[in-house]
């Protein structure tokens, strides 16, 4: 029987002790004497969230395919256990071996959202690993970051030895081989890092120097040595069908947030919504083929026993083989009593037909993401969804028996006017009216329209990366306008409106477009007790306010300041394949309220064609 890192007394005192025991179905045990590299793969949030992440499952499987590597998992201990571990000086351990992560060769951290930055420090701190890369020795693991937030890694640059920029499936082998070589040749840690910096996509923050101008903007971002590249090339898998995929994902004992098989059907998106970072980062769109996907689905269902499968992509409706994939899945899943979940579908006749086959209409709700209330605003953000599309989709759905509609919006978008804001309420009203057009005897009581708005955060590598972000008070005032306007509608009793927290959004905005000078504030906030900031029950804005004050950081510099397109942005050293010229063009087109066609309608010359594949070379 495996020995656990935590004793019974601790495990019986904490919430959900099964988060910490490992040993799940399909988790990998290896004999540590027979491997060269021990890799701890971390998602810096609680187990149930981390276990729901597809990327980690892919990399976990990929690493463990190598006989010389044992990849294990580690997640953030919840505050109850965090306290006990600090009191009793228990070092953070990986789930499989239950051994301290500080004894590992690598600690890989996937960074999916800004609000987990303090959790990264918790992982290092509890792990007994120096927070600052500069203080680490060969006794410590190499700390490497990956995932969407690494497209602006600067606010957390001091805490990482390396960042891996791009799809994880490409250069990890090269990195691990470089590591083994450095170790066997007795090289220093610095020599290894210098060597790693030669690998495409690997960014070693300590090998770059940033200087600032008087106005606090960046003066120069320069490599310290000649052999260190000044541009980091995003890594991309162009042959997605042949990329590794976990046939036997780990099955948690406790219910994860995504308690289902997740199957990535394509990567990237053709839409080009101007607020969307993923839409730019993962260009060009690359598809898997439906026959292989069906085979993958069968294998994953066989190997996990999950009772549900979900298709993962940024916009499933754009997947060209969707009809045949869904037909095949329905056949497969009906026979097994497996549910199919289809997020990110555009509401049209086809998807309504599909949904009526796989869901209970009475219970399920339809989701639209108009993102903005007015057509003008939707043109600015290049959301190619018209009011007619929405009303027609909703109308068809209501006639098909649905009564619940969810709508997602953003407030604080560039150029937004009061009309645009009130447009959210007006659109909801029009949808309600569409429902009440159905004769009374044919409809089933009231309709339920739930509109939610989040506040817009300009993200790096989007056409809005130069935009001004609203202040907290501006956000709240806008949400208030929507609330009042909803109340003024005839069918207000059928409309529910709620909005996200503004304080968290502002912090997200600071961190998203921040630079290296924020490292000290993040550390300060962490020392003040900031942890699990993504959880509203844990987040306290006051700690962060104090941190910025103590570190003399003017947060408006990062949020409410519109940047000039001439400015050197902290993330400019990364080449994502989409050119800055294209982003500037889109920024200008946005302000002219003009839409840009999607990749299948017409190539807009974003630069991703340079990858020589995907949607750019269809047909």
């Amino acid at each position: 029987m495996r020995k656990l890192a935590l004793n019974d007394e601790i495990l019986l005192q904490v919430e959900q002790p099964a988060r910490y025991i490992g040993g799940e179905i399909n988790s990998i045990q290896k004999c540590k004497d027979q491997i060269d590299i021990r890799f701890a793969m971390c998602f810096p949030d609680v187990y149930e969230i981390g276990m729901s992440h597809l990327g980690i499952q892919i990399l976990y499987d990929m690493f463990n395919q190598r006989p010389d590597v044992w990849c294990e998992r580690v997640y953030s201990p919840w505050p109850d256990l965090d306290r006990v571990m600090r009191e009793q000086h228990i070092p953070l351990f990986a789930l499989e071996s239950q051994e301290p992560i500080r004894d590992f060769d690598f600690l890989g951290i996937t960074i999916q959202y800004e609000m987990c930055y303090t959790n990264i420090l918790q992982i290092l701190d509890l792990g007994g690993i120096p927070l600052h890369a500069g203080e680490r020795t060969w006794e410590d693991p190499i700390v490497i970051g990956g995932g969407p937030c690494t497209y602006n890694p600067e606010p957390i640059a001091e805490f990482f030895d390396l960042f891996y920029i791009g799809d994880g499936e490409t250069v990890y082998d090269a990195l691990l081989d470089t590591y083994k070589e450095a170790k066997s040749q007795g090289k220093s840690r610095e020599e290894f890092l210098r060597g790693a910096a030669q690998i495409p996509g690997i960014y070693v923050p300590s090998l770059y120097q940033v200087t600032y101008q008087e106005d606090q903007t960046i003066a120069a971002f320069t490599p310290l040595y000649e052999d260190v590249p000044s541009k980091i090339e995003k890594q991309i898998v162009m042959d997605l069908p042949n990329a590794p995929y976990p046939k036997a994902p780990v099955v948690p004992f406790i219910k994860a947030t995504q308690d289902r098989v997740m199957m990535e059907i394509q990567r990237g998106c053709i839409r080009g919504c101007r607020f969307c970072q993923a839409g730019m980062l993962y260009r060009p769109l690359r598809e898997r083929n439906s026959e292989e996907l069906l085979e993958m689905a069968r294998e994953m269902l066989d190997n996990t026993g999950h009772e549900e499968i979900s298709l993962s992509s940024l916009s499933s409706s754009d997947y060209r083989e969707l009809p045949s994939l869904i037909d095949g899945l329905i056949d497969m899943c009906d026979a097994r009593g497996v549910n199919i979940s289809l997020p990110s579908l555009r509401i049209d006749a086809f998807s309504l037909d599909v949904m009526s086959k796989v869901q209970d209409i009475r219970k399920s709700s339809l989701t639209f993401a108009p993102e903005a209330g007015s057509q003008r605003m939707r043109d600015v953000i290049n959301k190619g969804l018209t009011e007619e599309d929405i009303l027609e989709g909703a109308g068809k759905a209501f006639e098909g028996g649905w009564q619940k509609v969810k709508l997602y919006f953003m407030l604080g978008l560039p150029t937004e006017t009061e009309e645009d804001i009130k447009g959210i309420a007006w659109l909801c009203q029009k949808i309600a009216e569409r429902y009440y057009e159905i004769p009374k005897e044919e409809r089933n009581g009231k309709c339920q329209i739930t509109a939610s708005s989040s506040f817009f955060v300009p993200k790096p590598f989007t056409p809005f990366q130069w935009a001004r972000m609203d202040t907290r008070d501006e956000f709240l005032a806008k949400a208030h306008i929507v609330k009042e306007e909803v109340r003024a509608q005839v069918n207000q009793r059928s409309i529910k409106y709620n909005y996200h927290e503004a304080d968290v959004t502002v912090l997200e905005g600071i961190l998203a477009r921040g630079d290296r000078r924020l490292c000290s504030a993040i550390e300060y906030a962490y020392r003040q007790g900031a942890l699990f900031d993504a959880w509203s029950e844990c987040f306290e804005v006051e700690r962060w306010r104090q941190a910025f004050e103590a570190c003399q950081i003017d947060t408006d510099f990062y949020t409410t300041r519109e940047r000039s397109t001439e400015e050197i942005l902290p993330w400019d050293f990364i080449n994502i394949g989409v050119t800055k010229e294209f982003l500037i063009r889109e920024w200008n087109t946005a302000r002219q309220e003009k839409v840009t066609p999607n990749c299948r309608q017409q190539c807009s010359g974003c630069g991703a064609r340079g990858y020589k594949g995907g949607v750019c070379f269809e047909g």
């Binding site: 656990l4 019986l12 099964a18 040993g23 179905i25 099955v251 004992f253 066989d302 009772e307």
Partner: protein, 235 residues
Amino acid sequence: MKVRVKFTKNGPVKFIGHLDTLRYFQKAIRRAEIPVAYSEGYSPHMIMSFAAPLGVGITSDGEYFDMELTEEESSRELVRRLNAQMADGVTICSIRRIPEEKAANAMALVAAADYLVSFRQGKELPEGWQERITDFLSQDSIVIMKKTKKSEKEIDILPWIFDMHLEGESIFLKLSSGSVHNLKPELVLDAFAAYLNTQLQPFSLLVHRMEVYANQGEETAPSLITLENLGEDIE
């Protein structure tokens, strides 16, 4: 066809709660491709029922659930297939056919359970406790305060202790269990400690369930039979 599955739960998996254990088996049954029956509707679920939920932290060699199969297969084959899908610490001991009627449902049948209770190191009762079990049981009554959601009330647990004796350095207990009088081993040990004029420290006990029984006699004159023995092997 209804079958009863007997399994063990030892080691780290003791930290998996009852509902998660249920989910664990649902997934394992799918992986093993056991021909299990599903309910009707949009979200079909397996028709299965557990005998007696096991608390988090308690190990067991005698856990049970019943399920409904759509096809007949041999016990040996079913056990083999399901065992191939088990996590460390969970072992399928038997899968046996049981009568179809509702009254034969595992949960409804539970009347008693055997436990082996040990003390964690350094948290034992004061020296000499081993000799006091007989005296403890010779009392006219063993009254404890039982906390319910609303109030506290005095109850006599003596009639529900069917057996209690020393086994090595552990205590064997045969206790009334199930929906009528469910006596937890921790309560008996608390009462025993109180009888010795002491108190158990928190997390003192290691509780291991050994077996679960149905009663084929009267309530006052029980005739206990293991849930497993109510079923028969499928050839």
